[in-house]
Symmetry: C2
């Protein structure tokens, strides 16, 4: 970062930014710098109209006929197919369904079925809690001596008792990113399967799950895919595993012939068998808008801008706020991080409250982590300048202490 | 039914109907008589506005802050509490989450945990397929010798090896309704738990799950509750079972402190532990409109009209269409049926297609069942008259044969 860094220079970058037109596709509040798209993406301008159309015209006028005439029944596969392109999956291997948590359960159970003599679900210390919890719940349910083991270096802990290595590709707190290809190779070398949680990756970084050899993947629709609060999640299974894929949640819409109403379950061919209940049409309509938008994004440009924004954020903090002891938690190496940047600070929670009160919206993760999502579709270089300026001001004036005091009062 | 039955007499009934104002609360297509609300309820007029508000104002303007400022995080419990009143559950025992299928899995697994020495999941021949399939999937996953047994008379088959008796309260095909209180007593007498699927009951018939002693219940939001296509489902657990309730899908939002991001799962107190992933806010907003409406409905009047409509439908068929051999599949006794009526007919599929082409929308269920949902909030007495008139006309003219031919052509 040049010492001569100025806001004017960043304005020039914004003007030249080939992604700049995407920002106009979002309905962003005027008084906000939004750096929390890694938690909930903002509203695409096209979404209200599409949702209104599905509600009033499709549901209201077609009623039950909508399942056929508007292709509602195909939505999980149709949107899944598009999502598969975003994550670099083979055609026919990705489905939108349920929540990330439920999809983790399905695929973890399938992995244990596929590796019946192995007893370990291996993961990483600091993985997202629901990944750990769903694995723990499955192991407790099965009562067959499975261990959920979380270690600092999971690749080093791989052995022939590992049924599945479950990792979040981009860490939700630090933003550190695994090398999917080499980690997957290491897992396969001991005969283990891999399950990648792409919640903080899909729409944030280029992905090639097929090329990298991933067996299973899941991810979230409401972060960088801008699908709306609680949007449906996705799952993906490498085609080589489809034929023997035994899933535990055998719902009627995963049946080979759901409308035969047969008494016994028989799984559909392919990834369709991972459907469980009736697709949530309204939520799917919103998600599809975000996914369609993402398909138009040049991913190389997205990745380059994402890393430029993070470099800029770090440089400005270190240049302007050095005395306040923000501890960088995200790798400096752009090759091994996602699209977010995190700083540790003992007063991080109060500082984040002060930022949010001033319209700079990031978030806080226990115990002391301030997270800033730098989603290149709508975050500008000048937004980073302005956000860091507000942060420095909050520190310089001690304004964060007021947030801290107000909060202590609220608690006591 | 009097022999002097006339359309004018039914108009008089419609005018005097205390539920008539509810029909005006729905956006129903002008050219349709909608008798399929038991599959997908119609659109309440209040829903588009509420959904638009949640999308544009809550999500669009509040962004991540919506989880607190708009109470999104509380939606599953808030709507669950309202739904609990509709099904007669104790306060604090009902939650909106996931799909009916996923909720079946959760509660079946909890039941087997609570009855660890018993091996049977007992149910009824002809139960809805997903209920059977989810039980089969769970038994296959556990590999502990559980049997899913479907019999014609499940009460007679109760014994000390039955962990759980799983029944759909109102049969999806015939509309026959179990006596929840006596069946539950019989199950409890042998130490079995009960799980009631209320998908065709909630919003259709008065329910008292607490008074009737039910242990577990699940149900659907998109039928008589008018929550929209693929609306979230609900589950309910008797409070006496909460303390020891071990659920298999241990997602982060069912954790006692989700935002502590602790590495180990610890269930929330009460029914909140049945939450798994992030609540689907847009779909929940639509569901809440339907649930709020249902809370205003006088259930005795709803029940009385529902039975009057069914009696009328049967009488008119038998009076006007006797020669076409429609076989009544629904009990004549109003005390043991829900809010739908079904007829068997060898040409039922083609006949139903002809009806739908003429704006009378019911549905068909394999192998030969024509179903008509008579939802008292918007189906009028004259609608029944008009629907049966169209049906008789279709039979008299042989018009259904054209639908049959067209269909055979489409298939070949």
């Amino acid at each position: 970062m040049p010492a001569s860094l100025t806001r004017a220079a960043l304005e020039t970058l914004d003007h030249a930014d080939e992604l700049a037109p995407f920002r106009d596709e979002f309905d962003l509040p005027a008084d906000v710098i939004y750096l929390d798209g890694n938690s909930l993406g903002p509203l695409p301008k096209a979404t209200p109209g599409r949702v209104a159309e599905v509600v009033a015209r499709e549901w209201g006028q077609s009623l039950i006929r909508g399942w056929n005439t508007h292709g509602w029944m195909r939505l999980p596969l149709r949107i899944g197919e598009k999502l598969g392109r975003i994550i670099g999956a083979e055609p026919g291997s990705t489905l939108v369904a349920d929540s990330t948590s439920v999809n983790l359960f399905k695929l973890l159970a399938a992995a244990l079925e596929a590796r019946p003599t192995r007893r370990m679900i291996l993961t990483e210390t600091g993985n997202f809690p629901t990944d750990l919890y769903m694995a723990q719940g499955l192991a407790a349910l099965l009562r067959r001596g499975h261990e959920v083991r979380a270690v600092a270096d999971p690749v080093a802990a791989l052995n022939q008792d590992v049924a599945i290595l479950m990792l979040t590709h981009v860490n939700y707190r630090s933003g550190a990113m695994h090398d999917m290809a080499s980690v997957t190779r290491a897992a396969h070398a001991v005969g283990a399967l891999t399950l990648w949680d792409l919640s903080h990756s899909a729409g944030a970084v280029p992905l090639r799950v097929a090329e990298d050899g991933a067996d299973f993947a899941v991810g979230c629709g409401y972060k960088y895919l801008n699908g709306g609060p609680g949007a449906p999640a996705f799952l993906s299974v490498a085609p080589r595993l489809h034929a023997d894929l035994r899933l535990p949640l055998t719902g009627w819409l995963g049946h080979a012939e759901p409308f035969a109403f047969a008494p016994d379950y028989r799984p559909a061919e392919g990834i369709g068998r991972a459907t469980v209940g009736t697709p949530p049409v309204l939520s799917l309509a919103a998600l599809e808008v975000g996914v369609d938008q993402m398909l138009r994004v040049p991913m190389d440009a997205l990745r380059a801008k994402s890393q430029r924004l993070i470099d800029l954020f770090i440089a400005l903090i270190e240049q302007e706020c050095a005395e306040y002891e923000f501890r960088l938690l995200t790798p400096r190496d752009a090759a091994i991080r996602g699209s977010q940047v995190a700083f540790g600070h003992a007063d991080g929670h109060a500082i984040m409250q002060a930022l949010i009160a001033r319209g700079v919206i990031g978030d806080f993760r226990s115990p002391d982590v301030m997270r800033f999502g730098l989603a290149p579709l709508y975050v500008r270089h000048t937004d980073v300048w302005d956000a860091v300026s507000v942060l420095c001001e909050v520190m310089r004036t001690g304004a964060w202490r007021e947030a801290s005091v107000a909060e202590r009062r609220a608690v006591t």
